[in-house]
């Protein structure tokens, strides 16, 4: 039936990527009518999600790998899109969270009487355009193209407030992200092109037999630091700085588009460019160590942050390192874990950011020490925060526990027991930096001059602010149940022989 109306998976690839772009145009066009404008965003998101989930997902699950070549950007190099499990998962996350985040953004920006809302939603849609492009790119060049697009389109979002701090953060954001991608990732891409003559993503990788272990290590390092969006130390500094952005942007940065594009790129490169065999020779060892260090160091730093969003930012750095470590462990299970964690962390972290945003708009509080007893005023928000935290920590029955299981098991499978220890230690640290928010919020004693927390009449934030986090928190619960499906689906990226190695049916 889909074929009858011309919606082959191939054409859907293109349409799904272009829809956010069209949405951006519509947002500009409807700029004067806010409700119409938001309607454009939401319907764009809904259609995109429907296309990805309704047509691409079944096609790829059925073993299909739809592919479409768009145009030749350089001789011999096409801008092409393809659908494969890992990318599709990312596309699903991006398009589904786009809708939720947009809803939240409406509540946030209107509640906050923020100026330049049209600009905001335009670049928001453009960022999603970039994210979907990254997710569905069929070769490194296409990926690089969209990767840079995300950086550029999120810059106006990061600096949305236009203050001196925002400007400074924007400078760091753009400077770090672009200089690393241009300075490190681009040469890696060209190096690969020069060595192998192809930039296609192929199961099993394209580098096998072309580069030796040492070169592979250097190449991997170029990718690991070139994708500064993955926030490996020491190229993580943009992330806490970018916290000056409005909270929906932080949510976008942390969950939907930016950081996920970074870790997704790394995972994708490991699977489809390097291939597991090449990396299992120890070429990934240095990056593993750096990821492990980042994982722990960022957690420890998070413990000391009083500003809630900064705390969450460092938590994100740590969680991204989970994925980077998982990807570079180059064991089948760890890769599935990395893919799973992209999803689990997306939903968990976006919940936390929504909550932080709701608290900011409703109670005008940014710092932990001001939030004592706030949970009794905003129970839904804090309950959502609790569930989101548990998912990030990796406690059942929330989705995050499964990705932790896969990652840990992958570490063991890759014969790196220390990595198991690192994962486990990090989840304890995560309790240390997340649970105080819940405990203080619900049970803390508000300070005597805190009229807000002491006022018995004040209640939950507006539905547009409190329902999105509640929804995503429930998604975290639901993901616990559906993680099996996800893992089986992700196993498909490793090809038939390896998917039996991970134990997936």
């Amino acid at each position: 039936m889909n074929d009858a109306i011309g919606l082959t998976p191939e054409s859907v690839l293109l349409v799904a990527v272009l829809l956010p772009l069209a949405t951006a145009v519509a947002v500009v066009a409807f700029g004067r009518w806010p409700n119409l404008r938001e309607g454009a965003t939401l319907s764009g998101g809904a259609v995109t999600l429907a296309l990805v989930a309704g047509i691409l997902l079944p096609a790829v699950r059925g073993g299909g790998r739809p592919r479409i070549d768009l145009f030749e950007i350089l001789p011999g190099l096409q801008v092409s899109l393809h659908g494969e499990p890992l990318g599709l998962i990312f596309a699903l996350v991006a398009s589904s969270l786009w809708i939720v985040t947009s809803l939240f953004a409406v509540g946030y920006l209107r509640g906050h009487h923020s100026p330049n809302q049209t600009r905001f939603f335009t670049f928001f849609a453009l960022a999603i355009f970039g994210a979907l492009g990254v997710a569905l790119s069929a070769n490194l060049l296409t990926l690089f193209l969209f990767y840079e697009l995300i950086t550029l389109c999120t810059f106006p979002l990061v600096t949305h407030d236009g203050t001196e701090r925002a400007k400074k953060a924007g400078r760091l954001y753009l400077g770090l992200l672009m200089s690393t991608s241009v300075g490190l990732m681009l040469p890696a891409v060209i190096w690969i092109w020069n060595t192998t003559g192809t930039l296609e993503f192929r199961p099993g990788g394209i580098l096998q037999g072309h580069v030796a272990g040492g070169s592979a290590a250097v190449l991997l390092a170029l990718f690991a630091f070139g994708t500064a969006k993955a926030a490996l130390m020491p190229v993580h500094r943009w992330l806490p700085a970018a916290m000056v952005a409005p909270t929906p942007v932080s949510a976008l940065l942390h969950a939907v588009a930016v950081v996920k594009a970074g870790v997704f790129t790394l995972t994708k490169v490991v699977v489809y460019v390097f291939g597991l065999d090449l990396l299992s020779t120890g070429a990934a060892r240095p990056i593993q160590w750096i990821a492990a260090f980042t994982l722990l160091a960022a957690s420890v730093v998070a413990l000391y942050q009083d500003n809630l969003k900064r705390r969450l930012a460092y938590s994100t750095i740590s969680q991204l390192a989970y994925i980077v470590l998982g990807a570079t462990l180059a064991a089948p299970k760890a890769l599935v874990g990395a893919g799973l964690h992209i999803v689990m962390h997306a939903f968990g972290k976006i919940t936390l950011f929504f909550c932080a945003g709701a608290i900011y708009v409703h109670a005008h509080k940014t710092n932990l020490r001001q939030m004592h007893g706030l949970g009794r005023r905003m129970p839904v928000t804090f309950m959502a925060f609790f569930l989101g935290s548990l998912s990030v920590i990796g406690v059942p029955p929330l989705g995050g526990s499964w990705s932790k299981l896969w990652l840990g098991s992958g570490a063991a499978q890759g014969d790196e027991p220390w990595a198991v220890a690192v994962y486990m230690l990090a989840s304890l640290l995560a309790i240390g930096y997340l649970m105080p928010v819940v405990a203080r919020g619900f049970f803390g004693e508000p300070s005597p001059d805190d009229a807000f927390c002491r006022d018995q009449d004040i209640n939950e934030a507006s539905p547009l602010l409190s329902l999105p986090p509640a929804f995503t928190a429930l998604c975290c619960l639901a993901l616990f149940v559906f993680a099996g499906e996800l893992a089986d689906f992700l196993g498909g990226m490793l090809g038939a022989p390896t998917s039996t190695a991970i134990g997936a049916p």
Binding site: R369, H372, R440, G444, S447
Partner: protein, 100 residues
């Protein structure tokens, strides 16, 4: 919900100084009786035939063991208190650090 419970005057016997001494004497007497009972068992039944260890059959073994152990524990406790006892506020967080 509360208040219908009778005052425990009946139990006062337990602690009135005049009666405590009597209770203590009763306790000592029971102890002696128990040793006697143990010896009685030795002679009038075969209970001690099945003990696992020979020393279980010593006259008043359990009683002596209990007494000595108890005194030992208490003296150890007194010694331990000297080592590990700290002011009650030892772990208390300094005021400035406490959240407001």
């Amino acid at each position: 919900m509360t208040g219908r419970e009778p005052d425990g005057d009946g139990l006062r016997l337990l602690v009135e100084p005049a009666t405590t001494t009597r209770w203590v004497r009763v306790l000592y007497a029971v102890c002696v009786l128990l040793v006697v009972a143990g010896e009685g068992l030795r002679f009038f039944s075969h209970a001690f035939d099945h003990v696992h260890y020979g020393f279980e059959a010593w006259p008043g073994f359990y009683g002596a063991f209990g007494f000595v152990v108890f005194v030992f524990i208490v003296y150890c406790g007194r010694w331990l208190r000297g080592v590990v006892s700290r002011p009650e506020s030892y772990y208390r967080v300094d005021e400035p650090e406490r959240s407001k």
